[in-house]
């Protein structure tokens, strides 16, 4: 007997799901842009498949990153994914034993215990192959059920999982999660009842079956139980493409495409859509998002991605994000929410076509220098940073020029952050021209926002782009300037655009190490908090920003350092208004501890400082 009518809900659901997935995936792949399609072709041929498959195994099944984030959550996800995977793989192997190696219909391994009542001869007869499978299948089922228990607990008491919140579900999600949570308990019941009626099953199902048979008419119950099990599977498969569980198949596709080098573009595209569908809404990002402090939970990444997926992106959700990148750091699926958000902003703001024709008239006097210093827009609002840099540059004896001394052209990053990359390109062109004409070999900026865009978007062959923290470290290491250590304590705040944005965590610390004693803080480097001043956010008001600032200050100043050091004029300005602790830019720290190398340099330094 290899068929019963109850398999139809499952089988129908499965076929439906496969059809939907086929259509969706094909549509996505077909609408990849030109470079995406090219990369897809290359990727399929150049062996990227293997590391990608490994990652699929590690992430989609074992949830390695999730484990790193949170052991309990990791186990929960792994039990479902890997457990179910094992159930399928082992179930197939098991079914082969009973069918003599024939190819079975896909439902056969799933409902094997209905079709085959393998009566036991001995308890725990592990030495026989069927006995082994009976054991292992029950074990895997137990493994999954343990994850299910954790999931139930998490829903009620998310705090036990170290999470402040859990994701709120949409309508489809509720159908899907209910059916999903029913699948394995129903399978357990169906197999147990069957075992109770026919004395089959492994250590779990047999024991339970015997237990139930004592007081339940299991011979009448098992058949409806198989029906229920099949139905739960069917419902899950049918609702899956519209629920968050779509992430399960989509993430696999995402991992392959990412290995092929495909990235989220500046406009929404099919790859960003794949990313959006890959979001499991695990809620890890919601937890780390500082928007919660501002009371703007609806614009946290998971909800933002959900809105995008269901096609009702909300202006405020688009605009209301500091683009600090904390979510990206923790995301188990590594979804590039920042890029997606910026692309969504492009959609939102694309009607705005700035025109900077007037910049044609801007032609500052030709200056030639080796080092070009750029304070940036924000730098001009923190004159202490400018002054410190000029003092240091003078003391170093380098041939430098202050590029934006007399007004600047914006670097273009703020426009990029608003999604206006075409407009940003105009500014990039102008600045590129100014830098190229200066003949400088090194470009130093005080602003991480500027640094990121100069580093990533500008094409300046032969010009090295440095943030001033990198450059100052180089000056100290090369002996061009000397600093002393005054023994005071300091906390270093990683600016988002410098740290997570540009992966510069060490240079500022190495530099500071020579001058102060650095106190550790609870959240630093990749986990550093945003100061709240971000130009990435377009909509948050002043009061909300202050809440975020104050929370960050609380973490930073927990060790009561003498000074709070940062390397971004915007962070400095933001923090300065929220604390009595002295807030300094790293350049100011250097400038204060500058040891004159010679008499001439000393006089120059004094002159500048005065």
């Amino acid at each position: 007997m290899t068929f019963d009518i109850f398999v139809i809900p499952f089988f129908g659901g499965l076929l439906f799901l496969l059809a939907v997935l086929f259509i969706r995936f094909t549509a996505w792949l077909a609408t990849l842009d030109k470079s995406g399609r090219k990369k897809l072709g290359h990727g399929l041929l150049n062996g990227q498949i293997f590391p990608a498959t490994w990652e699929v195994f590690m992430e989609s099944l074992l949830h390695r990153r999730m484990f790193k984030q949170n052991k309990l959550l990791g186990f929960m996800h792994m039990s479902f994914a890997f457990g179910w995977f094992l159930l399928i793989v082992l179930g197939n192997l098991e079914s082969r034993i009973y069918s003599g190696g024939h190819v079975n219909p896909p439902y056969y391994p799933i409902f094997l215990k209905f079709f085959v009542h393998d009566k036991r001869t001995l308890p725990f007869e592990l030495y026989t192959l069927p006995g082994f499978f009976r054991f292992i299948m029950d074990f895997v089922l137990l493994f999954i059920l343990s994850g299910l228990v954790l999931a139930l607990i998490k829903r009620v008491r998310s705090k036990w999982f170290g999470m402040k919140r859990t994701t709120q579900h949409s309508r489809f999600d509720k159908w899907a999660i209910t059916s999903l949570w029913l699948i394995f308990p129903l399978r357990l019941l169906a197999e147990s009842f069957t075992a109770g009626a026919y004395q089959g099953g492994g250590f779990l199902t047999n024991t339970l079956g015997t237990f139930f048979a004592a007081f339940l008419p299991v011979e009448y119950l098992y058949y409806p139980a198989w029906w229920a099990y099949s139905t739960a599977l069917g419902v899950f498969f049918v609702t899956l493409p519209w629920s968050r569980y779509m992430h399960i198949p989509t993430e696999v596709l995402l991992i392959y495409l990412r290995h092929f080098g495909i990235k989220t573009g500046k406009k929404p595209d099919s790859f960003s859509e794949i990313e959006i569908y890959s979001c499991p809404r695990c809620g890890v990002c919601i937890d780390v998002c500082q928007m919660n402090s501002a009371g703007r939970t609806s614009s946290t990444p998971a909800y933002f991605l959900r809105s995008l997926r269901y096609g009702n992106p909300d202006d405020e959700q688009n605009a209301n994000c500091m683009l600090c990148g904390r979510c990206h750091e923790v995301c188990p699926v590594q979804i590039d929410t920042l890029a997606i958000r910026i692309a969504a902003r492009y959609e939102d703001n694309k009607l705005l076509v700035p025109s900077f024709k007037y910049l044609d008239q801007f032609d500052p006097s030709d200056t030639t220098a080796d080092i070009l210093y750029f304070a940036g827009c924000m730098g001009h609002l923190t004159p202490a940073v400018k002054k410190a840099m000029l003092k240091i540059l003078t003391a170093s004896g380098e041939r430098f020029s202050f590029m934006d001394e007399d007004g600047s052209v914006c670097c273009g990053r703020p426009l990029l952050l608003a999604g206006l990359h075409e407009a940003a390109a105009e500014l990039i062109r102008k600045n590129t021209d100014l830098i190229t004409r200066s003949g400088a070999k090194t470009f130093v900026t005080s602003c991480p926002i500027c640094y990121k865009v100069f580093n990533e978007e500008y094409k300046l062959p032969g010009v090295e782009i440095l943030h001033h923290s990198q450059y100052l470290l180089r000056l100290v290491e090369s002996g061009k300037i000397k600093v002393n250590n005054t023994g005071i304590t300091a906390v270093y705040h990683d600016p988002c655009e410098l740290g997570r944005g540009s992966k510069i965590y060490n240079e500022p610390r190495w530099l500071l190490d020579r001058m102060v004693t650095i106190n550790k803080t609870e959240q630093e480097r990749e986990n550093s908090l945003c100061c709240g001043g971000s130009v990435g956010d377009l909509s948050m008001n002043h009061t909300e920003r202050n809440v975020i600032r104050d929370e960050a200050l609380k973490v930073l100043l927990a060790s009561e350092p003498d000074i709070l050091v940062t390397a971004c004029p915007l962070c400095k300005k933001t923090f300065d208004n929220g604390t009595e602790t002295v807030v300094m830019d790293i350049a100011e720290v250097v400038s204060e501890r500058l040891q004159p190398a010679s008499k001439t340099e000393l006089s120059a330094a004094v002159e500048i400082a005065g």
Partner: protein, 117 residues
């Protein structure tokens, strides 16, 4: 009537009135913007934004004026005016009233494009 042929050449034409006719002006852009970015209402025309403005260095662009023009319904020509903004955000940093200037620019432009009809 208005399309009349100028039969007699007088050597001059009727000067356009500079007066803001508030009752005749449409305020829909202003209505949209104040809903989209409530801090729009908070501007006190101090001019800090315009004085620090990166674009204002090269042009006569002034967010203070733009805000007033929107409030008064003087939206003609404003669309072009706004394209001068580089969105750098200096104004936001110096604004004493906490106006979200960058979003304001985006919202004003959006309203001009979509809501001015």
């Amino acid at each position: 009537m208005s399309g009349a042929v100028e039969k007699v050449r007088f050597g001059f034409s009727v000067n356009k009135d500079r007066q803001i006719d508030y009752d005749a002006n449409l305020k829909n852009v202003s209505d949209i913007v104040q809903k989209a970015e409530p801090t729009f209402n908070l501007c006190i025309s101090c001019g800090t934004c315009a004085s620090t403005c990166t674009a204002g260095k090269f042009t006569d662009f002034s967010l203070r004026k733009v805000i007033l023009m929107v409030r008064r319904g003087e939206t003609k020509g404003l669309e072009n005016e706004i394209t001068k903004c580089m969105l750098c955000g200096k104004c936001q940093l110096v604004c004493p009233r906490g106006v979200s200037t960058r979003n304001l620019i985006l919202q004003i432009h959006k309203a001009l494009k979509t809501g001015a009809l």
